[in-house]
Amino acid sequence: MKSAFFKNVLALANLFMLLLVSIGGAAAQDPVTLTWWTTSGRDSPEPAIRNVIAAFEAEHPNIKVDVSIMAEGAYNDLMSTAIAAGEGVPDLAWYWSNNWLPQALDLTDRLDNDPDISRDIFHTEYFNNWVVWNDMVIALPYDIGANFVMYNKDVFDDEGVAYPTQDWTPQDYIEIAKALRNEDKRRWGGDRPRGPFRALWRNMGATNPYSDDSTTVEGYINGPESVAAYTWLWDLVDSGATPTPADLEVLGTEGTGPVDLFIAGRLGMATLNPGSMVSTLEAGVNFGVVPEPRVPGNENWVHGWALRAGIWKNSEHPDEAWEFLKFWNGPPGQRILMEQGLGHFPPIPSLLAEYEYADTEWYQGFLNVLDATQTASWRKDHPCWRGAVIRGVRDAWDLIMLGEIERDEVQATLDAMVEPGQAALDECVPRLGG
């Protein structure tokens, strides 16, 4: 009787244990749901985003991705709010603002120890300048971009002007812009640069606005190369071959460059970006791509950028998030996005070679531009340039752009910028670092 009782108890206990194990097993197999915030627009169509996710989920049945697709203009406010709140941040998100980077998970070990992906597959310049922060890999690069000069071949043919070449100079730019200018057609030859010490300034030898150790402005902002670059700007403005800041304010396109003016044939040359190539292509305009002009002997620079997708440092599912991130930013996801969204340019050179228009002259011109040294290589270690100094020396730029000073006043104007520039630098370095 007693032994029968014990047998029954043991059987029940076994059953209970089995039940527990099976429940535990079932729980282990429950799919993990990742939250993922991304944006959609002309550059990343919503169906392509969903197709990447479907392809990932098919490969990883235990991971589901709950994607929120939002407009470009909406993303910053949402992400800033969530990060400021300290909760409600998704497992995966774009970390395109530097202010968000401390919230991103350090991916260095995962990337270096994962056999499925390597940093070598990515474009070196874009990888090093955009996803490495404080010696940590804090994201993976996504869509890459760069500024280059697009020229409207129909406008050039119309005015009988030869196309610019890969090794053209800043002086060539002014001469061509003047030759393309046509008052009757309300046409300008080319646009104006958007700020000092970007690629064009560096191509003219004006490399840095202050010393590399972030201590001195004197001799940099007002050094001979800088004066030459600002004088070049003065000559360009004086030529009348470019739209005024007011023209660009009215006719430009929301900070993305005057692509609509360019497409309409009212601007012979414009410093634009990869998205503009697609817009221009779709509008049926015959165009070419060259790098920003350079004074011979100087290094070739480009103002480039990459979007970066990262994992929130407080994510409850960092392993699963990493699986998705390397799929999305790696060749499988990037190929789908590139094939289904013409405006998507992956940071993976081997994939860039597969682009639909890879054989065209303009696309080859674009690829050439990507090989130049990026302005970000200096900027990312010198946050005070954008954080403070640029505001301190903005007057010199504005005075020239508005035609308020004479050519021989450029040196004196830049000399006058040394004091506010130095003050801005001194105030900023303790705050943001050198």
Binding site: M70, A74, I263
Partner: protein, 296 residues
């Protein structure tokens, strides 16, 4: 019977002066109408340009000379815009939010205002000033606390964060209704009370029917604000299909460019409900605002 020539002359003069006055009035009216029509045309220019842009090809957008009426109108732009993003769904979502907010505003603002306008209770003035002070707090400041609040209530990605506040009264509408109610003679309340009416009965049978101009302002403003609200939907909504039209339009702005021709077409369609509401409500709206301004 003999008519006095002097009187005849006076009557003729009167007729002539009336004719002259009428002619002057006619000219004056013609001038006023001409000015008003010209002004209306100036104000309509952006809408017209929007319509014109919505029918162009991308390369025609900035062409010189500009074409006010496109020679080859691209009606397909509208179909493309509505096919590219679920704009019809977004407009329906906006309509749902508008109706829910209007109901909330109409339920809450008059009741709260009635309390401030007709009753005395401890700390009434302090509470009224506190309520008014909320009008001066910029909405952005409240975003992070609200985000955390709704997150913890598990209401993110639902319409509740966009609807619930309306049911607790907007300070602006409470202030507006309070001022309006204060202009309604208390004798009406007394008369109703003698007839046996209680506070609720007085509110719904006496006060609210007399508040029609102010209530019209509440309805129209709630409509406009909810239809155009962009910031709160982007913070509280996640689902691609749940966005209102204000957010849906933002999809036309890509990372590098704006599809102006599609954007203008979609925007033009999206403002039609606003124009219709304003057209029908303008008389009440202007009358309501004027009444509040004069009496309040």
């Amino acid at each position: 019977m003999r008519i006095d020539p002097a009187r005849l002359n006076a009557s003729e003069q009167l007729r002539r002066s009336t004719r002259q006055r009428r002619a002057k009035m006619l000219v004056w009216h013609a001038i006023i109408y001409a000015v008003m029509i010209s002004l209306a045309c100036v104000f309509m220019l952006p809408i017209f340009w929007m319509a014109s842009t919505s029918l162009k090809l991308p390369r025609e957008l900035m062409a010189w000379p500009p074409e006010w009426i496109p020679s080859n109108p691209q009606w397909g732009n509208y179909a493309e815009a509505f096919g590219k993003y679920p704009l019809a769904r977004y407009m329906l979502n906006s309509a749902i939010l508008v109706i829910a907010n209007i109901v909330g505003a109409l339920l809450s603002a008059p009741v709260i205002a009635y309390g401030f306008a007709r009753f005395n209770f401890p700390f009434k003035n302090v509470l009224f000033i506190l309520m008014l002070s909320m009008m001066m707090v910029p909405g952005h400041i409240k975003l992070i606390p609200l985000y955390v609040l709704y997150l913890r209530l598990d209401l993110i990605d639902t319409y509740w964060p966009l609807i619930l506040p309306a049911y607790f009264g907007s300070p602006f509408f409470i202030f507006l209704m309070t001022q309006f109610m204060r202009t309604i003679p208390r004798e009406l309340d007394d008369a109703a009370r003698i007839d046996g009416a209680g506070p609720w009965s007085i509110l719904y049978r006496i006060i609210i029917p007399l508040c029609r101009p102010a209530l019209t302002v509440v309805v129209v403003f709630t409509f406009l604000w909810t239809w155009n609200d962009f910031l709160e939907p982007i913070i509280f909504l996640r689902d691609y299909d749940s966005f209102p039209i204000s957010v849906g339009l933002a999809f036309f702005q890509g990372r590098y460019s704006i599809e102006w021709h599609l954007f203008m077409g979609a925007t033009l369609v999206s403002i039609i409900p606003i124009l219709v509401v304003y057209f029908f409500a303008q008389r009440h709206l202007i009358g309501g605002l004027a009444a509040i301004g004069i009496k309040g």
